[in-house]
């Protein structure tokens, strides 16, 4: 398992890096607009109307962005949690913990893709 994890590290790290970028840049803007701007009336009420949001989300680019927004932070979370676990002295059990975390990220990614495909 250790060898397999090492071989997969470039792709895991890419997904993790993507998660950091999406999490810190897009997600922050997302929360600012949807979570704060809309309730505080800073964003016009009809800007987030269902039909408008659905049309945006169900376009090709919209689906890709939505899938990335959901899936990539899961990889960031899985990878960070793995490293926190290692830093807390869990290096010996990494071969057990890492697959569980990455399987959760894979499951979340599959669910995210399924959800945006069905939009």
């Amino acid at each position: 398992m250790k060898h397999l994890l090492l071989r997969l590290e470039p792709v895991i790290w890419l997904l993790f890096g993507g998660g950091i970028m999406v999490g810190t840049m897009l997600m922050t803007a997302w929360i600012a607009v949807v979570g704060l701007g809309a309730p505080m009336g800073l964003v016009p009420a009809d800007a987030l109307a269902f039909e408008r949001a659905h049309a945006l989300g169900s376009s090709l680019i919209g689906r890709i962005v939505l899938a990335a927004l959901i899936a990539l932070p899961l990889w960031k979370g899985a990878h960070h949690t793995r490293h926190v676990f290692i830093d807390m002295g869990g290096a010996d059990r990494d071969a057990l913990v890492a697959p569980v975390l990455y399987l959760l990220a894979i499951a979340g990614t599959v669910l995210a893709i399924a959800a945006v495909v069905r939009l």
Binding site: L6, E9, P10, I12, W13, L14, H83, I86, D87, G89, A91
Partner: protein, 246 residues
Amino acid sequence: MSEKKTFRITRFDPDRDEAPRTETYEIPVDPDWKVLDALNFIKDEIDGSLSHRWSCRMAVCGSCGMMVDGKPTLTCKKALSEYGSEISVEPLANFPVVRDLVVELDGFMEKFESVKPWIIRAKERAVEEGTHRQSQAELEEFKQFSMCINCMLCYSACPVVANEPEFIGPAAIALGHRYNLDSRDEGAHERNEIFRGEGSVFSCSYANECSEVCPKSVDPAAAVNQAKINAVIDWATGFVVTRGKE
């Protein structure tokens, strides 16, 4: 030398001690002294059995790295005036101790060698073809990463080295990355394979402690994280580019 400071120094004699112990020395200090000057005073005037490494006294040789008040420090560079009246001096963390403040370098040197820190050419250039020319801009690409003095403070500060001893580590990765950026070099793929192998660059969790303690502003954390990107690009291009005997 009217001011006095107290030094709590870790001592360890492998022939006598089962575990490291602490010895305390109160000495008069000069306002201009570096930490190393105080250690040399103790060795010369009080206790000749104290062992510590040092050589150039000008932050070039990288020999005198120690933990001063718990922080990896180049003792010839750090002024004594920056510390209080009591100062602790210990051997560099994350290294086996040989004696007193002297640590074992073998593992570190093996890691250094593992990244092939020399110019690799696919085909050697004939002498009559002349020298490898390099522009100022090409030199600037890697110059910062070539300023490392191998003082090992970054290994001592790195939380990943502490947990995963096989991690290649900041200075060695910075050195390998320095050659990967060198316009005269053609060995990047070989080094990227090493960077992806046992003790891989991806073990780095970007705590940035290495760059914090680096006395030469090499910024090894930047080198490690640039090396990660290059190692990924090298891995991905391997699917579409056929490489030679490498």
